[in-house]
Amino acid sequence: MLPRLVPAAVLAVAGVYLFQALKLPLGSAARPGAGFYPVIVAVFACVICLVGLVRGVGFSPQAAGSDADDGDPMPALRRVAITTAALAGFCVVMPWTGYPVAAAAFVIVTLLGLGSRPWAAVTIGILGALGSHALFAGLLDVPLPRGPW
């Protein structure tokens, strides 16, 4: 199922892209407009996805996991899911809480999800957030958001 789902999903996106590209001015062969090249790209994408679907050239998933999990992919997938959720959480909360708090929370949640001891996760989280803030905001002059405080 999944091998065919991937080209089908890309085909759907390519269809939307083609629809949007056709709204742009195409121009002529001698004076190509802003839509000329995107239409070529969209047609190319649709044709490739159709070839993939018809010929059954699928995308075969590999199992997630490590030797430590004895072939059970669930703990490995859980670790990836927690890391991904922490990543998305960082993007959502940083504008509101500022960099140091978001960074510390990101490191603590990720390390706990990966199996660290709570005291180690909290220590590394606080030191990592302060260290990276000092490096980027202090040394490299990057204006990182500070939050409400």
Partner: protein
């Protein structure tokens, strides 16, 4: 400016304190990255790209290139001592390198790998000096049609050489080309695919995409493993000296590996990885004792280790002389130059000699630094492997996030990083190489611009466009390289299929 005159000028640039420090930081970070399994040179270059924005273009290029060839040195250490390749270019080294470690010759294997890498790196730099100048002279005659043919050829050939299905590669190319069209059209200034977002009208930044599909995706793969620790063999300094017999056995493979690696670097594709396989196969074929390969043959370490370093030098030739990256690592170097307002190509040598020659000279200095760093400090580098991988992975991800934000102080870049990180991870799990996407994203805008300019020049005549002698030559070579290998394989299959009947 001739090659020797240029090199002397380049040493003047590379030996300034700022550039020397950048070179040192680059090769040091590269070595550490090479030692660590998981984070490859491309991911590390992508991670450090934002920190080079405040630097002079030459300094930024020197540091990023140092990471690239430093990782080639460092990768061999993990292959030889731990039987785990630090990065993809060191996979072949572990076949004989780890066997040498099991026989108590780990020090000799490390020393031969380091000396071989140094010699190959130096030969490669001489090759760049000669080939880049010659190619740049030729490229001065190029107009939009020729540049279109080169960008088209680069994308087409790289998609063929990444391995795996061509349909997968073309899907990646299509996504990369489509992403390259987002934002303001460079000719008509019309906004395309921005859906009303002001931030998107600047286009999708290359750096968070690269950091996502390589850096974040690799960290997510490390997260799968959870808490892991490596078993490491210890090496004493006095054990580093190879015997006279080992030196004799490694001299010719180092020379051959250097030439093979440099030539492999000149063609599109994962040159550093490909060159090690070619070198290993070559050494095994011409060896009087092929049965020793896989059992700890010195030539099996010397050849491939020289080849991967020479390939990194060879890959710089098309980048510096034509402005075309033939690999993801050189695509990041191109990205760094573009961010600094430079367009690599034939005119860069004459217009920005301090960047071009300073960079070349820094590669000599970097190779010497690596030799000094790698031999006595091998124990220190290996101790990096004792750091818990999950802690390292989390902190690397944090650096990715803050690095992506610092590009434009934009939250959009953070989301692009996160989305492409998850996308890159999914691609790895589906056994799809993301390199064609990155190359298409880098070359796509250039391909569109040159295609439209070329069509304007030829008044819309495609025949006139492809009939120009240089354009036709480039397209014929590209198509021959693209269609040649599958055609040969098809003919061979047909011949093999007939032979039993004929017999």
């Amino acid at each position: 400016m001739g090659p020797l005159e240029g090199l002397v000028y380049g040493f003047g640039v590379a030996l300034t304190p700022a550039n020397l420090s950048a070179c040192f930081v680059g090769v040091l970070v590269g070595t550490i990255v090479g030692v660590l399994p998981g984070i490859g040179p491309v991911g590390a270059m992508a991670l450090l790209l934002p920190s080079t924005f405040a630097l002079h273009p030459a300094t930024a290029l020197i540091m990023l290139a140092g990471i690239y060839y430093g990782a080639m040195y460092g990768g061999s250490t993990t292959s030889i001592l731990v039987n785990v390749p630090g990065e993809a270019g060191s996979v072949v080294t572990l076949l004989d390198g780890y066997q040498m470690t099991r026989r108590g010759r780990a020090g000799a294997a490390l020393a031969i790998a380091a000396v071989g890498s140094f010699v190959a790196g130096t030969i490669g730099v001489v090759g760049i000096m000669l080939a880049a100048n010659w190619l740049a002279d030729l490229a001065v005659q190029f107009g939009p049609p020729e540049y279109f043919a080169i960008t088209f050829g680069g994308i087409l050939l790289l998609s063929r050489l990444t391995g795996g299905s061509i349909v997968h590669a073309f899907v990646m190319v299509a996504i990369g080309l489509a992403l390259g069209t987002v934002g303001m059209d460079s000719i008509s200034a019309l906004r395309r695919f921005t859906f009303g977002s002001v931030q998107l009208s600047q286009g999708i930044d290359l750096v968070p995409v690269i950091m996502g599909v390589y850096g974040v995706a690799e960290v997510l793969l490390l997260a799968e493993e959870g808490i892991t620790k490596a078993q490491i063999a210890s090496v004493r300094l006095r054990e580093l000296l190879p015997t006279r017999q080992e030196w004799r056995e490694s001299a010719a493979p180092i020379a051959r590996g250097s030439v093979v690696g440099f030539l492999t670097g000149l063609v599109p594709g994962p040159a550093a990885v490909l060159s090690t396989f070619i070198s290993y196969t070559l050494e095994k074929k011409i060896s009087r004792t092929p049965e020793k390969f896989g059992q700890g043959a010195v030539a099996g370490v010397a050849g491939p280790e020289s080849a991967n370093n020479a390939a990194t030098a060879g890959a710089m030739v098309p980048l510096l002389s034509l402005g075309i990256p033939f690999s993801p690592a050189t695509a990041i170097l191109l990205g760094a130059l573009v961010i600094h307002g430079l367009q690599p190509g034939p005119l860069m040598i004459s217009q920005r000699p301090e960047v071009f020659w300073g960079f070349i000279a820094s590669m000599y200095i970097g190779n010497a630094m690596l030799l000094v760093l790698n031999l006595p400090l091998v124990g220190l580098f290996v101790s990096v492997l004792r750091l818990p991988q999950h802690v390292l992975a989390t902190l690397v991800m944090l650096l990715c996030l803050v690095g992506a934000y610092s590009l434009n102080n934009s939250f959009l870049d953070l989301w692009v990083l996160a989305i492409f990180g998850v996308f890159g991870y999914a691609l790895r799990k589906l056994s799809v190489d993301p390199s064609p996407l990155v190359v298409a994203l880098v070359l796509g805008p250039m391909m569109e611009k040159t295609l439209r300019q070329a069509l304007f020049l030829t008044r819309g005549s495609v025949t006139e466009l492809i009939a120009r002698p240089l354009t036709a030559s480039i397209l014929i070579v590209t198509l021959a390289a693209f269609l040649g290998p599958p055609l040969v394989a098809f003919m061979r299959r047909r011949r093999n299929g007939r032979s039993p009947v004929a017999a």
